[in-house]
Symmetry: C2
Subunit: 395 residues, 2 copies
Amino acid sequence: MYQLNVPSRILMGPGPSDVHPRVLQAMAAPMIGHMDPAFMKIMDEVMRLLRYVFETENELTVAMSGTGSSGMETVFVNLLDPGDKVIVGVNGLFGQRLVDVIERCGAEAVQIKAAWGDIIKPEQVEAELKNHPDAKFVALVHAETSTGALQPLEEIAEIVHNHDALLIVDAVTSLGGVPVKIDKVGIDACYSGTQKCLSAPPGLAPVTFSKGALEVMDKKKEKVQSWYLDLSMIRNYWGGERAYHHTAPISMNYALYEALKLIEEEGLENTFARHKKLGKALQNGLEAMGLELHVKEEYRLPQLTAVRVPEGVNEASVRKQLLDNFSIEIGSGLDELKGKVWRIGLMGHSCNPKNVITVLSALEQILVNEGAKVETGVAVKAAMDYMYKENVLVG
Amino acid sequence: MYQLNVPSRILMGPGPSDVHPRVLQAMAAPMIGHMDPAFMKIMDEVMRLLRYVFETENELTVAMSGTGSSGMETVFVNLLDPGDKVIVGVNGLFGQRLVDVIERCGAEAVQIKAAWGDIIKPEQVEAELKNHPDAKFVALVHAETSTGALQPLEEIAEIVHNHDALLIVDAVTSLGGVPVKIDKVGIDACYSGTQKCLSAPPGLAPVTFSKGALEVMDKKKEKVQSWYLDLSMIRNYWGGERAYHHTAPISMNYALYEALKLIEEEGLENTFARHKKLGKALQNGLEAMGLELHVKEEYRLPQLTAVRVPEGVNEASVRKQLLDNFSIEIGSGLDELKGKVWRIGLMGHSCNPKNVITVLSALEQILVNEGAKVETGVAVKAAMDYMYKENVLVG
């Protein structure tokens, strides 16, 4: 008979990432009620720590009771009225998803397109804001999980605010891996997930809203179309009168607390440095092997690298061998990158030197067995040299 | 500095209920990916076991990635088009919530009202179906968590189907505590939560849909207004091609698997018998103390009992003393029952003889201290006599 049988994996895909034993242990803490004063204290700490990783003083900074995609939906159903116009950057799957979610709100999505792996340029945003002076929002994906590209935001934020619009940012894969800096950049609404660089299990969606976003929310004409994600009620549970809305996922909040606490203990800047250096070490190793990276160096995320599948190689077979023979999970390409790239994650607790070394060694061996033309015996050395130089060997 | 500090409670409110150590332990199992073949096996088992507790052969029987309220929303956003008419029973807070969710779908809710604590009568449903021959759905709450009333369904199901409508049932508090019997009763769409009689942590919403409901879903004109809850995509992740939709809450599914497995090991009929007998034992004890139960005996739920607060007693102070001095959580009254009742749960793993004895003893002592007129020294005996007679002392 089947018994809960969970293999021990090395999670190097696009999330979930490995979860620290302290976080797993936190989830096994006893159940308490969602109105228990002891749980209110945990919620307060989760809010404080989320503000720390978002780098914001936004009061409305909470964890929604669903995975990252529910965070995306939360932002739009609470801000948009039917007929509203949103300028959206589409340069990967999650940009496409933004369009879908916006349209399901009865709003209009004006798309700015760029190639998958490229970024959205400030001048493109400025041009569309001039073409659509009635656009109230600009929405961009900070770290495109489908391509591994990092979208620069500061210049765009200034343009958006000069046009009296609000900036909405998808930080699902960026939060905790690269700086998001809500207040400094001037992001008005932002959502993330717990299972990427925060390294908690999937199941919650951190969100944060600026004062400008709260004003829009308060002026919204129609009732929020989702009861479950209606922040006008949920705000009163996370703050204010602590009014019951729905039963919060208690254990998931224990986990998020502990995962955020680990980041606080390491220090946010140290967390970013670890991701940056180990991401670069991995990328050096992959390039030394002769593999091509999908994203230009200047826009490359450290925590998620899209590598092109060498010609003639069966991408699914390589992933299967990594999983079956090494228990390493990496991600496939999605949609128009399906079959063309692998996505290798180094997120949160997964982001450590031994994982860099292991995945490079395993991938090299499998590619050689598959008859691919790769340089052998140099990948790990290239990564190792960089790790020595940057002094990130202990992690 | 604050550290994750979780007190050990006895959870006897309207949910969450106590979680079995095996379930807590399951959540601490290592993280794996949402596309991992090992996770697909867990999903298959979760589906099999959900069909077992729902007593259904419905293929589309899955756990939505949100708490019970997201299950409510899932059913309506996937079935309703704007302008559709739903006849809704409103005899408590969750009936009211149904109306709210239906209206947010742009549909019309025709309300059948009954007093809080009463039930909806078959003849009321029949009359409204005649008044509104264009009504496609009838929606009822099986176990009203705000009142403790159990809604009989069989006769109503027949009436609904005779009028070619579909029956939608809220089984958040009933599933696993009293028989729901989807197929035998003829329920077309049903949702529940994990933190009541299933005794898993909150965070997932089991849902199930009949063939008739699937036909309606397939004919739906408008795109589902919630991307996150869109079953036309989620179906392909839980079955079929296993296409990625969103990252499932992995650890929560471990927990649900283990919690359902415990029910399977006990046997569903034994689980129901335990709830029935211990619920009655508690109710006998409360009545022996001289307290008045809010719901008539014939419609009383075993797993959730609403007790009227004796005149002159401060209901919040009693709950606070139970929590502070005995670490027992019970629920307050909501909305129109606010300040008027306590709600005492005996759900899932919380439903055992020692909790019956403890809560009766503690409540009696506190009420005496508060100067309430209660019979002393008889409540535990009344409960105990019944437990001996029914042979449910070991649990």
